[in-house]
């Protein structure tokens, strides 16, 4: 999950620690006994690339006393959690004032992702936050800033590219799960996706009182049933989740792990993607177009309807930034 391709063993330990941070699962000291300071640096680096340092910090706090964590790693994680907690507080205040402002204008925002997902976490303040995303029915896509945060207003609740009849009512647990689900799909089929969103999804399945039958039907109507089983297989195997497989065998989650390892955090840690993001808008869009094409074998296998929709959205200006 980084440029230097950490070993499978280190990746396994990283995922073990994430499970501990997400669910409080104890980690036996002997699992970590052979870790060197360099390994710990790699683990911290992986957590940063995947924007899950808060989860790693929670895991490290719970380690048995006999585990020797280098002091520099401890201090770095403490500084990270202090930063995350300060940002959470700041964003919470910003969202409260933004909501007041929008309500005063007669608008009723539905907040998406970010702060909404933080509520699923054992320590919500430790979930890395970026922008404020909200859905305003009957609006157009646009951006503005509010109290230092970028606000993305979405015209669509779901990242789906054609009309699907019979999707869950908004708000509902099934709607929220589907929204998070297809958001991950969108990024998996373009620039890449990281563990932060996958941790959100894992916890959402535990936290939300959803009806499995309704959710399965929603995934079927949205054309993402096969993708959802892959996603669930990944979440269950690597993040210890209890995600639905709809009574079918779990597919091999390796294709999704490959995507996560390659980029992290929406692909922003893929070196060539990083370079592309620093260029002008046209070149950024060209890079995104290329990545969508490269992901086509994956997209066609797991969510065939996604490719044309992604390309159409790219040319309408919503991707590539």
């Amino acid at each position: 999950m980084g440029n230097a391709a950490p070993s499978d063993a280190i990746t396994g330990i990283f995922l073990l620690l994430l499970r501990s941070g997400l669910y409080g699962q104890p980690v036996a000291a002997d699992r970590l006994a052979a870790l060197t300071p360099e390994h710990w640096n790699t683990l911290l680096s992986m957590a940063r690339r995947q924007t899950v340092t808060g989860v790693l910090a929670s895991a490290v706090e719970q380690l048995p006393g006999e585990v020797k964590v280098p002091a520099a790693i401890d201090y770095a994680l403490m500084a990270e959690t202090d930063r995350l907690e300060a940002n959470y507080l700041k964003m919470s205040r910003a969202v409260a004032s933004l909501t007041q402002r929008l309500l005063a204008e007669g608008l009723h925002p539905v907040y998406l992702k970010g702060l909404e997902c933080a509520r699923f976490y054992p320590v919500p303040e430790r979930r890395e936050l970026g922008d404020i995303d909200l859905w305003l029915p009957h609006s157009r896509d646009h951006h503005f800033t509010h109290e230092g945060f970028d606000v993305d207003v979405h015209s669509r609740y779901y990242d789906l590219y054609r009309q699907h009849a019979g999707l869950p009512e908004i708000p509902s647990p099934e709607a929220e799960l589907l929204m998070l689900n297809v958001h991950i799909l969108k990024h998996a089929c373009s620039a890449g996706v990281g563990l932060r969103q996958l941790c959100d999804m894992a916890l959402a399945y535990s936290a939300l009182p959803y009806n499995p039958g309704l959710y399965r039907e929603a995934c079927r109507r949205a054309g993402v049933l096969r993708w959802t089983r892959l996603l669930s297989s990944f979440l269950n195997q690597y993040l210890g989740a209890d995600a639905p497989l709809f009574g079918l065998p779990a597919p091999d989650p390796a294709p999704l792990l490959k995507i996560v390892r390659r980029g992290g955090n929406f692909g922003h840690h893929n070196p060539s993607r990083l370079e592309a993001l620093s260029r002008r808008p046209f070149l950024r869009k060209a890079d995104t177009f290329w990545r969508i094409l490269c992901a086509t074998p994956f997209s066609l296998r797991y969510a065939p309807g996604t490719v044309s929709g992604l390309l159409a959205t790219l040319f309408k200006g919503n991707l590539g930034a």
């Binding site: 706090e61 006393g65 964590v69 002091a71 401890d74 201090y75 403490m78 500084a79 959690t81 202090d82």
Partner: protein, 85 residues
């Protein structure tokens, strides 16, 4: 006097660390007593007498000993730049 407000106390595996975010970030490993005192006075205006009274009450020290230790503690906070200017 008041304790520096850009600090955060952490407890990790029975070890206390004070993270200080003044200018550059640095970490101070502190003991249980330091942490207890810090928590008692964090965010509050206080005097050396307040610290002495706290030590008398919490640790059962006599007045003279409490005054002496309070002076040492406040001097330490000052020399470590842990007090608000």
């Amino acid at each position: 006097m008041k304790l520096l407000d850009c600090c955060k106390l952490h407890r990790r595996r029975r070890q206390w660390t004070l993270m200080v975010y003044a200018g550059h970030i640095h970490a101070l490993e502190v003991n249980e007593s330091f942490a207890h005192l810090w928590q008692a006075f964090d965010g509050k205006e206080f005097t050396r007498s307040d610290v002495a009274a706290f030590l008398e009450g919490e640790y059962g020290l006599d007045e003279a000993e409490a005054r002496e230790q309070a002076a040492q503690i406040c001097d330490l906070w000052e020399t470590q730049h842990l007090l608000m200017p």
